[in-house]
């Protein structure tokens, strides 16, 4: 009984810790007076207004940033899923010279923090004339997300019995048909995780986007929101309203795929 109470109490405390910042952002977004610091703890007050949200959509480039972010995230996700699912399949099913080295290199690349790679990335993109170009971001986001995604997909493919493919081949499938008609549908939990990871890599990324994109027309959401911050006057209300909207797609994604998420994250431990 005491254990249960302790567990509940701990969970409640953690829940408050993780929820309060979000509620605070919500509260700031609803204040009309751009007040960031206030003595009051209440979230909704008589002065709460949706003015910041209206201004955000009507008087700023928020929709443009959102479109840019969605486009970049969608392409990165597509690239991530397409490349990870196919290359992981080859690494899982074929034995070829350099396979282990390739797997190890992918793993080793994860050991470097992304910020350390900014300078080399910048030089490469500059030489390829991809600065201020979405392709530059696609390239960086995909290449940083791919190693994890490939390992993730490979681990899942490794649990799929070889006989499933052999049965498909005997049923009349070509190699490619076996892959997309049998292996891909069976791997949906891993594909969802891969897609989510690729999406998350690009959706809220700031540092690399700030280096690669300089033209305000190409700004993504994090870059756009940053522009509300100035040395003298930061528009906290708009900032908070924008931050809330940015989190909505991710929230929807997480809720809609939570079923896969659980089975995907436990995969490998329980074969199924």
């Amino acid at each position: 009984m005491i254990k249960r109470i302790f567990a509940w109490l701990s969970l409640c405390i953690f829940a408050v810790f993780s929820l309060y910042p979000m509620l605070y952002v919500l509260s700031v977004s609803l204040r009309g007076d751009n007040a960031f610091q206030t003595q009051s703890l209440e979230i909704f007050s008589s002065q709460s207004t949706l003015k910041n949200f209206v201004v955000l959509f009507t008087e700023t480039d928020f929709l443009l940033w959102m479109r840019n972010s969605l486009f970049i995230s969608a392409v990165t996700t597509l690239l991530g899923v397409a490349l990870a699912s196919t290359s992981a399949y080859a690494l899982s099913r074929h034995r070829f010279r350099g396979r282990n080295l390739m797997l190890f290199s992918l793993l080793a690349s994860q050991m470097f923090p992304a910020t350390m790679l900014i300078l080399p990335f910048y030089i490469i993109l500059a030489k390829m004339h991809l600065i201020d170009n979405f392709w530059g971001l696609f390239l960086i986001y995909s290449s940083t997300a791919l190693p994890f995604c490939i390992w993730q997909m490979k681990a899942y493919y490794d649990t799929i019995p070889k006989e499933l493919e052999e049965a498909a081949v005997l049923d009349g499938c070509s190699r490619w048909m076996t892959f997309y008609k049998i292996i891909l549908p069976v791997s949906s939990p891993a594909l969802v995780i891969t897609a989510l990871f690729s999406f998350m890599t690009s959706w809220s990324e700031y540092v690399i986007a700030a280096v690669v994109l300089q033209d305000p027309e190409l700004y993504t959401l994090p870059l756009g929101l940053r522009s509300f911050q100035a040395s003298l006057a930061t528009q906290w209300g708009l900032y908070a309203a924008g931050a809330l909207i940015v989190s909505v797609p991710v929230l929807i994604l997480f809720i809609s795929i939570s079923r896969y998420l659980v089975s995907g994250l436990t995969m490998g431990s329980v074969k199924g």
């Binding site: 019995p161 499933l164 052999e166 049965a167 081949v169 005997l170 499938c173 048909m177 049998i182 069976v186």
Partner: protein
């Protein structure tokens, strides 16, 4: 209908030579069982016929046509796998109709064919279910149904019953045999279970270390084993092998040579009570050490000149440990093996 011919098939994986020049002919419509211990190459041989492995050398011909390098999907071969290998994202009907769907058959044709096979296998009430909602036995039937739905002239079975419990296994054995009588495809069945082999096969090919040791009807294999390995591998309870002075006294000229083993199955040994008939031979003193009641019969374990000998006796009679008696064997059912070559000297 398909007449199959393996000629000089060899296959190695790295340094291990799995198949060492297999020659085998399977008649059209025959049910052939490939049996042998783990690692003898039986599954590999089956997979070369399916096209899932390519032999290093040799040829496989079906109705005279060389199919050694043909793609699996062009071979007119279907296969039932040990772990069922059902597509988990498809329901039973989709699993069974998948190959027909790939052949671009009409929806009505696929539905009719699937229903027909499902009725034959008594799984027509499961058509909408996913594999994970089925029991082991039902999954096995679906796997069988998927192989049969294609109506191929060759159906291969790779240890399909080894994941089932003993009761289901014996039930499915009969059903597979019955299906074979109905559909008349050439069937090749791989198993390590000698009981499955002898009960199901029209003929049995016994493999060991990548070589066919003997091929024949279950009765031939059981009663006329070519060597010690086959004699000990086929038959349960296992054959007794007796050596020493007892062997030298046998009324066969070959038995006088050194290094001979007398092989006699437990049911061919009797307790010597009445007169010894012309085709019988008395073995000497036997002392019971243990008796196992098997229902209709009792298996006696005991010692004959220091060697363990098992025999089957009528369970109506009581035998107790320490009891002494004389044993006799039926000479027409006894074998003499050369210890060094392993060959049966009486064939």
């Amino acid at each position: 209908m398909a007449h199959i011919e393996f000629s000089q098939i060899t296959k190695s994986f790295g340094r291990s030579h799995i198949l060492k020049g297999i020659d085998l002919e399977i008649a059209s419509g025959e049910f052939l069982v490939l049996v042998g211990p783990s690692g003898c190459g039986k599954s590999t041989l089956l997979r070369t016929l399916a096209g899932l492995e390519t032999p290093d050398a040799g040829a496989i011909r079906v109705n005279g046509q060389d199919i050694t390098r043909q793609e699996p999907q062009n071979r007119d071969v279907s296969m039932v796998f040990q772990n069922y290998a059902l597509y988990p994202h498809m329901n039973v009907a989709e699993n069974m109709g998948f190959s027909l769907h790939l052949q671009k058959k009409s929806k009505t044709e696929i539905a009719n064919r699937v229903r027909e096979i499902a009725q034959l296998l008594q799984i027509d009430h499961l058509l909408e279910r996913k594999p994970k909602e089925l029991s082991g036995g039902q999954r096995q039937r679906v796997a069988l149904g998927r192989a049969l739905a294609r109506q191929t002239s060759i159906v291969l079975f790779d240890e399909p019953l080894s994941n089932l419990d003993a009761h289901l296994r014996s039930q499915m054995r009969v059903e597979i045999k019955r299906l074979h009588q109905k559909i008349n495809s050439t069937m090749i069945y791989v198993t390590h279970d000698q009981m499955e082999a002898t009960t199901m096969g029209d003929r049995i090919a016994v493999l060991k270390d990548g070589v066919v040791e003997q091929i024949g009807t279950p009765s031939e294999i059981y009663h006329q084993p070519k060597n010690i390995f086959i004699a000990s591998f086929i038959g349960s309870p296992e054959m007794n092998f007796i050596e020493g002075a007892v062997v030298g006294q046998l009324p066969w000229p070959e038995a006088k040579k050194p290094g001979q083993l007398l092989g006699v199955r437990p049911e061919a040994i009797k307790v010597s009570e009445g007169p010894v008939l012309a085709q019988e031979w008395e073995l000497g003193d036997y002392q019971v050490e243990l008796s196992e009641n098997l229902g209709g019969q009792t298996m006696l374990h005991g010692s004959l000149q220091g060697q363990t000998v098992r025999l089957l006796v009528d369970s109506a009679k009581e035998y107790h440990p320490g009891q002494k008696m004389k044993l006799k064997i039926d000479l027409t059912k006894a074998h003499l093996f050369d210890k060094s070559s392993g060959l049966n000297q009486r064939l």
